[in-house]
Symmetry: D2
Subunit: 324 residues, 4 copies
Amino acid sequence: MPLSSHEQQEIEDLRAVQTSTRRLTVPDLEAILYQALPVLDHGFVRVIDYMGSDSAVVQAARVSYGAGTKRARQDAGLIRYLMRHAHTTPFEMCDIKYHVKLPIFVARQWIRHRTASVNEYSARYSILDNEFYIPEPEHLAAQSTSNRQGRGDVVSGDEAARVFDLLRTDAEQAYAHYEEMLNEDVQGNVRDESRQGLARELARMNLSLNFYTQWYWKVNLHNLLHFLWLRSDAHAQYEIRAYATVMLDTVRRWAPLTYAAFMDYRVGGANLSARGLDVVRRRLRGEPVTRRDVGMSPAEWRELNDLLAADDTSDSSQLPLLPY
Amino acid sequence: MPLSSHEQQEIEDLRAVQTSTRRLTVPDLEAILYQALPVLDHGFVRVIDYMGSDSAVVQAARVSYGAGTKRARQDAGLIRYLMRHAHTTPFEMCDIKYHVKLPIFVARQWIRHRTASVNEYSARYSILDNEFYIPEPEHLAAQSTSNRQGRGDVVSGDEAARVFDLLRTDAEQAYAHYEEMLNEDVQGNVRDESRQGLARELARMNLSLNFYTQWYWKVNLHNLLHFLWLRSDAHAQYEIRAYATVMLDTVRRWAPLTYAAFMDYRVGGANLSARGLDVVRRRLRGEPVTRRDVGMSPAEWRELNDLLAADDTSDSSQLPLLPY
Amino acid sequence: MPLSSHEQQEIEDLRAVQTSTRRLTVPDLEAILYQALPVLDHGFVRVIDYMGSDSAVVQAARVSYGAGTKRARQDAGLIRYLMRHAHTTPFEMCDIKYHVKLPIFVARQWIRHRTASVNEYSARYSILDNEFYIPEPEHLAAQSTSNRQGRGDVVSGDEAARVFDLLRTDAEQAYAHYEEMLNEDVQGNVRDESRQGLARELARMNLSLNFYTQWYWKVNLHNLLHFLWLRSDAHAQYEIRAYATVMLDTVRRWAPLTYAAFMDYRVGGANLSARGLDVVRRRLRGEPVTRRDVGMSPAEWRELNDLLAADDTSDSSQLPLLPY
Amino acid sequence: MPLSSHEQQEIEDLRAVQTSTRRLTVPDLEAILYQALPVLDHGFVRVIDYMGSDSAVVQAARVSYGAGTKRARQDAGLIRYLMRHAHTTPFEMCDIKYHVKLPIFVARQWIRHRTASVNEYSARYSILDNEFYIPEPEHLAAQSTSNRQGRGDVVSGDEAARVFDLLRTDAEQAYAHYEEMLNEDVQGNVRDESRQGLARELARMNLSLNFYTQWYWKVNLHNLLHFLWLRSDAHAQYEIRAYATVMLDTVRRWAPLTYAAFMDYRVGGANLSARGLDVVRRRLRGEPVTRRDVGMSPAEWRELNDLLAADDTSDSSQLPLLPY
């Protein structure tokens, strides 16, 4: 469990307080508010606050004086229409704030999404904890042989044992030296008065990229969905995908109609190029069509055929039910 | 009064509902939630939703597991420190959403602030109301003779009467022709079946810039303060300043410690250039210093002297009280 | 012609100067640099400056020390790969700056794209010209009867004559009263010394939304393509589409490989939802599939079938040629 | 020297090409275009491209048809006016693109500035070089005893020797293990065919935060100045300040009038709070004023007095000369 008993108590204290509000509330999300949802070996995602929900999307789209919602069926239809036609601004009217604990190399990918607000734990000001990420054996992947930017089979046996040993030993040594250079009275260490101790902002450079950091991250629903679309994708690195998966479930609790439309149009959907559309139309008319007919590269032709031939694992019956 | 009884009822219905939440709430802001705060002759500002408050700023700055707040005095000191040293990210952790009704020429200035989310009432899709802005007599200003971008004395007498007449008559005629071109069965008009009626997206071009539009506008606390700093300034056009003034008071209700720091460091403060600082230091040492000594332009020299000679109208005793 | 001879001369003076640079240059774009490309009755688009081109996209994607480009075929393939997989950041490495003259109601749509830099001609500081937009007869559309946000047939005959008369007369009157209220010695007007003259920032509110304004607008290639994708679409209002069409052609000159990929993947492509993909896959397997099988709304079902049945007008043979 | 001879040659090849352009050019910046300006032990800043200069700021502020510039004195005055009154949009009309090589811990601070475009060298796709940052002896600072986020005296003697040894040894070991886990035929290593080799995206996590990465970074002049204002400040960490210092000099070459105004109003200037202004005004009137009179905290009172008592090291005579 990633939290100390003190931290756990702080969370319980927050959860125990219920107050009254005139604002829109979402009981399904309140149910998990402040809780640490575990990710990877020491990480977590915590929902700290939120503003709006599906009905705020509807309210903004209608620029209404009141709640803006009509019958559930109409609201679902409007949300699907907005998502289908890239009318994205109403989804910006909802915000969510997370507290996230994550390895630094994941944080480096994450921060590339610029349309969010971030406050990160400062290693100039404070001392980082001795926590680093070690993959589960099933995620210790070899370099892909077909794709320069991807993973292949799982590394196992002696090679895996050696990798685990290197990762763990190097991280432990890096942290021990970090503490030695800092020379501070913390975490059971006794300061050596004959040494000044290195500035925290310098000592931290000895830590490796699998050490954990944490931040508050606030984002609107539109930008969150864009983040999740990219980071829950099979091409995203497994470690950030693990976070996206947990966060996707918080969206399901928070704004279920938006979630359903997103799963249908973005996660489960696909973009066809003009050439790809041409292929589909010709085939539906029963015409033969070759790669050269439409001027596609071999890779693109393969991607298209994989997409069109995919079996029922992503069929409509697995999509969230619609209210109509 | 800018609202119809139907709209007023929708607002009352929203206000009547109180639910329970684990989130941070701000009773002073809840007290006015959804209400239409009047601005100009037909405009308003309504607070629709909010997320966070002073303690969310503190919580994010400390990247805390719990509420993050300590004693009020420490929280106030931290917020002042953040404001003083341009540590702006914790203020981004709070959001507020407004529903605003405003003249189009004000909307055109307002929208230049890009770091907000907007949903505007669509005149492609809907028909605008017959409401336009006419200034109060005391705001009917002449062109400034000293400043190409500003107002001078109030226009009065026959000239004022003529201006009011032109503004009102032209707007009424523009709206009557808008309705005629639309040729729709709305607002008591009967459609002339011999005419097709012009597309709404075209007919609207006949309306003048003083007609009212409305939008939902969501912004974080940092960007809101930047907007208010610029738009509540004496150099801002009176009409947008009227909105900023009302919104500034919603900030006072929402995040009083942040409001107090903002009034001290931004609204009441001033930026001195290196040359300006040099002048102040020399004078404090009792040295004479001339405009040429520091290489200032006449305008800048005058601005500096006005700033330093300002009397007690902005002295510290009028600032919000500090908790220490 | 929208330009005065003085303005035309300023443009010619700029065009006459050629200097030497180590930067990447694009002769096809230099050929039209500074020229006013006409749009609507009084508007224009001028390319004022640019930075980068296709090879800057490639250079950034490869984080290279040199030009980054390899054989044309590889560069085209890389750009298509980036576009296909939503790797958008390399396209942000190119910038273009336009000077645009456009009706205010078009400017109001345009400005909703927040990821650009804008300097607009100030009607607080200066006096607007007496130029307003009147549609060509073939663009005087009626309200659509099937789509609340769209145009139907062309309005003609007496109704058209009446609309043109109203638009023109109201705009002329609005401008005459604007000048009267201003009471300034400009454009042949003689100031009436018995009147103060209304502040410019107030007098402008009498002008209607079809008056022209102008601005400098700078945007990166990625955000420009997003703008053009939305605003060159058949659902966009004709008047802003007219600008998008002209600007799309400047992209073709500026970055032809990016342009070709954009036309294929965005403009000519389409997004299929999970349900839509399911329909396509089943049909390609020869299975019958109904609207209810996949839980689509009637509107969405119709859109999908229209898309899949579209004839050859958008077939691959009309796409830009690929270098492989 | 941070560059290989191959890389150096690529740079020379780029520099050798001169073409003709109608665009605004800046010879002082062209003089260093593409060159690697060294920073820290292995880092650099390279200017790759630029768009605009002082006269583009002026041109945009005036929304002109031609160059927009008038006499140098007027242009300088306009730029100073824009800077003094926070009219920031004309400065957005200029862009600059850098190629930067920097330690990862510096990159992590840098990337917090979100209003720029970035393409970073991918350690998922490629293998990082064996280059890591070791401070110069004079920058090996101890933790500040007065400021939790800052540096104190220089660490020297045995303690310094030990720190250098730890930093160097740990980084070398981390890299050796990185290569071992990768198990690839690169940089003289021979792949062990009995092992699969760990995915690059995983192996990189063993590297420490002082390893170098590199990116293309493009930003407009306004946002660049904001970055430089924060990062060239004495409170910024020395290592990122080293980059800011070099970049500040590229701004001096690129847009000298803007640079001069920036040095005067931002870098050399200071913000006084309402309370601070009150203190200054009272003292200039010869009145005694105490900390309690204005309700300042001890820290703020000390900061203010330090500011006002600063000696001539920042006096006006050291500012860039003005053209009037």
